[in-house]
Symmetry: C2
Subunit: 152 residues, 2 copies
């Protein structure tokens, strides 16, 4: 982990202090940029009654992308992200580290930034793909998030 | 906890051994009967960046009802429950212990039991209500589950 960029260390320290339950699962951000987040979680300690990754852990590694993307994409001094709803579809049992990836295109980011500046809030939709160590799709998530001005 | 019925202690020992990540959150079953499950989870250790219960914990206390109901309703020597998808809607921040409740009516249980005996599997849908210590609705879940014969 000695080559982890400082901004990723900061993001993961943020998870540890702000969402300790996700940190205890081993959820961590591995790529972070405006409009782009990748997170991973290990299988160890996170299994279910059939030895694959527990649904709540898959949910968490998918859901947390929204918060990380919100903070990386919009000014965290002005806005904070919240979640409105999320649907997760389980495709096959996950029996390895799971990687969750999501992206917002640049045009959408520009539009949302304007909307948030004007209205003090903006809704955004994130789709995420969750894959196992072999690159197989294990789950997908579709979440509705909102960024809001602090104090609202 | 000295007045906890033995079947609840057994169910919660099952969570501890089979889904340790849910046990570490403090998720536990408080009512269990064929077609009826109630689970609870404390706020402590389970907060997010705004001090309310983290989404993944709300997901877990709602999701786990399906497994518990599957085991309490169908013969666990013959069948095991799995989850296909789940949508969670967040209604308001949860700032206390959260209680998740779900029910399947007796006719549905009878029909599913026949279907599982005939086909070796049966799909079931569960709606759950998640409430805080004041009885306010904090989230709802809608999940599609399946019970399957062991070995399939």
């Amino acid at each position: 982990m000695t080559d982890t960029p400082p901004y990723l260390e900061l993001a993961n320290a943020g998870i540890e202090s702000m969402i300790p339950v996700a940190h205890r699962m081993g959820v961590h951000i591995v790529e972070l940029a405006p409009g782009h987040v990748v997170a991973e979680v290990p299988l160890d300690g996170n299994t279910n009654h059939i030895g694959s990754m527990y649904a709540g852990v898959l949910f968490t590694v998918g859901e947390i992308l929204g918060g990380a993307l919100g903070i990386a994409t919009f000014d965290p001094a002005e806005f904070y992200p919240t979640i409105r709803d999320l649907k997760i579809d389980f495709r096959r049992p996950a029996k390895s580290t799971v990687r969750a990836t999501t992206d917002l295109d640049a045009d959408t980011v520009t539009q949302l930034t304007k909307e948030a500046a004007t209205n003090g809030k903006a809704n955004f939709v994130l789709e995420a793909q969750l894959t196992d160590a072999d690159g197989q799709l294990v789950a997908t998530t579709l979440g509705n998030y909102q960024i809001r001005k602090h104090g609202t």
